[in-house]
């Protein structure tokens, strides 16, 4: 029997999925900002993160890794849509930082552990 080590899901090329479709113990969501861009609704993502958090705690050895681009440090955009995307992304990252056991800030491949 082959066991998949992890599932990698990129927001730039794929759609996000729920724990019911998890096929491995480690799930990686990359480009979190891209998932949010398509649906910039805070409440939706809050419950999405919550559902994964519960899945992770549901069994030993489960891990969810969230990878996002920090898009929150530029000039405030003129367009309402862009502002909305940025705001929701900022809130989402706060929630993820709160619920995750480990938080790293990556610069040029160097990780700085923040939590």
């Amino acid at each position: 029997m082959t066991k998949i080590a992890h599932v990698w899901c990129s927001g730039y090329t794929q759609a996000a999925f729920l724990p019911s479709e998890a096929t491995a113990h480690t799930v990686i969501f990359e480009g979190v900002e891209a998932f949010i861009r398509r649906l910039p609704e805070r409440a939706y993502w809050e419950s999405f993160f919550q559902v994964w958090y519960e899945w992770e705690r549901g069994a030993e050895g489960r891990h969810v890794i969230w990878i996002g681009c920090d898009i929150t440090q530029g000039i405030v955009p003129m367009e309402k849509e862009e502002r909305q995307w940025r705001d929701v992304t900022g809130w989402c990252y706060q929630q993820l930082a709160k619920q995750c056991t480990r938080v790293d800030r990556i610069w040029c491949g160097l990780a700085e552990r923040m939590k």
Binding site: C69, D70, I71, G74, I75, W107, C108, L110
Partner: protein
């Protein structure tokens, strides 16, 4: 190899020049590779300001204006020379966008790999190469293909250069923050 990055007007050129001078010996020639193309008055003023700052210094600088094909210069450097490359951002943009092809990610990847190979060669033929680049990843991910590929390739190059570099520094408000390797005397 030393990597220096920073935002606009962060003082990174000043920090890079300081480091170059501290590495250079009395036998070194300091080479300045400028990759920016002067396309408007604002850019011209910026170039002149940087040139004047260098002219005030005791060591001699040799300036090469090379927006693309930096590898053509490799024969011009000696083992005791120090090279300041300013900057990676412009160089990549010039290589990617001077002709069609940037719509294709593998074309962009090839260009970036060629740049990385050139940077590594520069560090082999000289005493040290100091590479200046820009922090431009925090303003959001832009959706047009050109900018997206440009940012993706620049991010990849930054990672590779930092991996190969003995020191990596981010400059913020004129203050150098050492991310990797030893600090320099400021």
């Amino acid at each position: 190899m030393i990597f220096i990055s920073g935002g606009v007007r962060s003082g990174k050129s000043g920090v890079a020049e300081h480091i170059v001078r501290s590495i250079a010996s009395q036998h070194s020639t300091i080479h300045y590779i400028a990759t920016a193309t002067v396309t408007d008055e604002e850019m011209r003023e910026r170039v002149i300001r940087h040139q004047q700052a260098r002219r005030l210094q005791p060591v001699e600088w040799v300036t090469w204006e090379q927006p693309r094909h930096v590898h053509e210069l490799i024969g011009a450097f000696r083992a005791e020379d120090v090279i300041l490359l300013d900057c990676l951002t412009n160089w990549l943009a010039n290589e990617l966008f001077h002709e069609p092809g940037w719509e294709n990610e593998s074309y962009c990847r090839q260009k970036a790999e060629h740049i990385l190979a050139t940077v590594k060669k520069l560090s082999i033929v000289s005493k040290a190469v100091v590479i200046v680049s820009n922090e431009l990843f925090s303003g959001g991910v832009l959706q047009d293909t050109g900018t997206y590929h440009f940012m993706k390739m620049l991010g990849w190059l930054h990672q590779q250069v930092v991996r190969a570099a003995s020191s990596a520094i981010v400059v913020q408000h004129g203050i150098p923050i050492v991310k990797k390797g030893e600090g320099f005397m400021w």
